[in-house]
Symmetry: C2
Subunit: 346 residues, 2 copies
């Protein structure tokens, strides 16, 4: 079966490209002595997590406990959760996970650290550092050292290092200062974990970081293309859609809207995806099941019934909308891949 | 069990409010002689579709064939699909549906009409009219009349009327001109179907329309509040989330991001949802599992571990991310509701 025979809209994945992306990032990490710890948030697939581990990954990352539980049930035993675990219920689930797996968790507050310790969890702990992005994380190297000392004293918790997201040019100095303050307190900083696909290949140059957490690299998307971290050929995940209406000379409607593509933007780009066959087209608006396309700049314009291929703005959000992806190699369909951890937001 | 005992993030639905919303819209339609045809895209739930029909709805709308197949399998037999059906595979599925159900479909092109007829479908057909919104639909009343005549001559297709989305102030004159042109050709215009929650209550004033297609009214959301079509008390669907990080004096991170709330905007509002307990807070950015909240304007600021209630920007997109909703009445949990047609984009 070929992709052209599939009913649309459908999310397709070129397994040749996925394997190439996995191998390339692993090679980069190996060359620079970085531990690669892929983030499964992008694919939420057991099979792809296994491919990443078989290629040499040190373990995986899961953002939510539900994802980690799914991966552990499939036999994956080295899992880092770089996300704040807060409250007795979540801490109890973490404790249960840690009985059967090697769990590392990131904390950025005393509350989270105490909740985890009080639940009886036996886990490795990274201190989450806000080195400039402005999301979670302690706000200064001294705060990192203080939290590291506290973690080291809490029963069940083993302080193992630092974590930041993403790895910014300014992250290295921050992390170095934190490491020195922590070492001065007599603790060892074994792992310094950085992340983010856009700047992944600069990690070795930025210093301090010895572990790379990346997700999107495995699929690639329009945002990766905009940031220069992927070429069109690296984009394994694509949405095949049909032109279902051509109301005017310059407007087309495709059967993929926010419920197929998400309304996620791609930084530096306008619109909601790249139409490969008509790169001049602009998907200028999405409704739930409609993609509104401006064809003004297209030398040839698709007709009703024509099938088009869209590189989505954001692969992770797109995958998350669908129960399965159609897997192919160069257009020959091989089967379907279950998005096993889809919807597990808790 | 109370909502406070649920693990977060979790999507909750107040059934008292849902029932009140259903009754109020039905009453409005009954008072003004409009047929109410709720759009199940908002809830994708068999149980809620049944509630709407029991309250007096004339039938339901489904945007995609997969949704219609799910509803028909549950015994719902009067279904309108106001979405272009294009291609042999889709037309064959429509034909199969129409063997067991009363199916109406909207067309805006000769291609779609011929595909449906060629597949042997026996269906009622509305001509989709672009009365100003700029999405699908024929572009002029004369074009509507020409397509109506064509539809009336195609085997299996029965022309029954006109459809537009949304019902705009300028829609009535457009639809009146189309109706007159069609009647002049000797055809009857039985149904004139308008839609959209924001202006639903103006439908009777705008004229011509005798059927109302609405979806979001059943749940309400922040966009409905912004458009004046719902109050906070009308918003049945809410996301309960936990503050998992308080990195600075004015920043909080909640455990609900785009994979819980969507990145859909609410026209006229900034940010990604309304925090009921802290209405001055701004959810200024969402990552996949992080909601970034600016607390600068909040007189009291939530702490790590505090639970907050978010009215999402867009109820339909939010529901679509989750397999089930937690149903309650005034905070007392009654059970879970399956989002049966979630992910059925084909």
């Amino acid at each position: 079966m070929s992709l052209a025979e599939l009913e649309t809209p459908v999310v397709t994945l070129d397994l040749d490209v996925v394997e190439r992306n996995i191998a390339a990032m692993q090679r980069y990490c190996d060359e620079h002595g970085l531990a690669l710890r892929p983030h499964i948030k992008t694919h939420k697939s057991i099979e792809l997590a296994r491919l990443q581990l078989e290629a040499g990954a040190a373990g995986i990352c899961c953002q939510k406990l539900g994802e980690a539980e799914t991966m552990l049930a499939a036999g994956i035993r080295d899992i880092t959760i770089p996300y704040p675990i807060v409250g007795a219920a979540k801490a109890a689930r973490l404790t249960a996970l840690a009985r059967d797996a090697d769990i590392t968790v990131a904390v950025d507050s005393e509350v989270s650290a105490r909740d985890i310790s009080n639940a009886g969890a036996e886990v490795d702990v990274l201190v989450d550092c806000d080195t400039g992005f402005g999301r979670t994380g302690v706000q200064s190297p001294d705060d990192a050292a203080a939290l590291a000392r506290m973690v080291a004293e809490l029963p069940g918790l083993r302080f193992v290092g630092l974590m930041t997201y993403p790895t910014l040019p300014e992250s290295a100095a921050w992390l170095r200062a934190a490491r020195k303050a922590i070492e001065a307190a007599g603790l060892r900083v074994e792992r310094v974990s950085g992340g983010g696909t856009p700047a992944a290949r600069f990690t070795h140059d930025r210093g301090e970081v010895n572990e790379l957490r990346v997700g999107t690299y495995v699929f690639g998307d329009r945002a990766c293309m905009a940031s220069g971290s992927a070429s069109l050929d690296d984009c394994a995940l694509r949405v095949v859609a049909t032109v279902v209406s051509r109301p005017t000379a310059t407007r087309a409607i495709v059967d993929a809207g926010t419920k197929t593509l998400t309304s996620d933007p791609a930084r530096g780009e306008t619109g909601f995806g790249l139409i490969v066959e008509h790169p001049e087209a602009v998907i200028y608006e999405l409704n739930e099941e409609h993609g509104l396309v401006d064809l003004s700049a297209c030398p040839s314009k698709p007709a009703i019934g024509d099938v088009v291929t869209i590189v989505p703005n954001h692969a992770c959000g797109t995958t998350n909308l669908h129960d399965e992806l159609v897997v192919h190699r160069g257009g020959a369909v091989e089967g379907r891949l279950r998005v096993a951890a889809r919807g597990l937001v808790r």
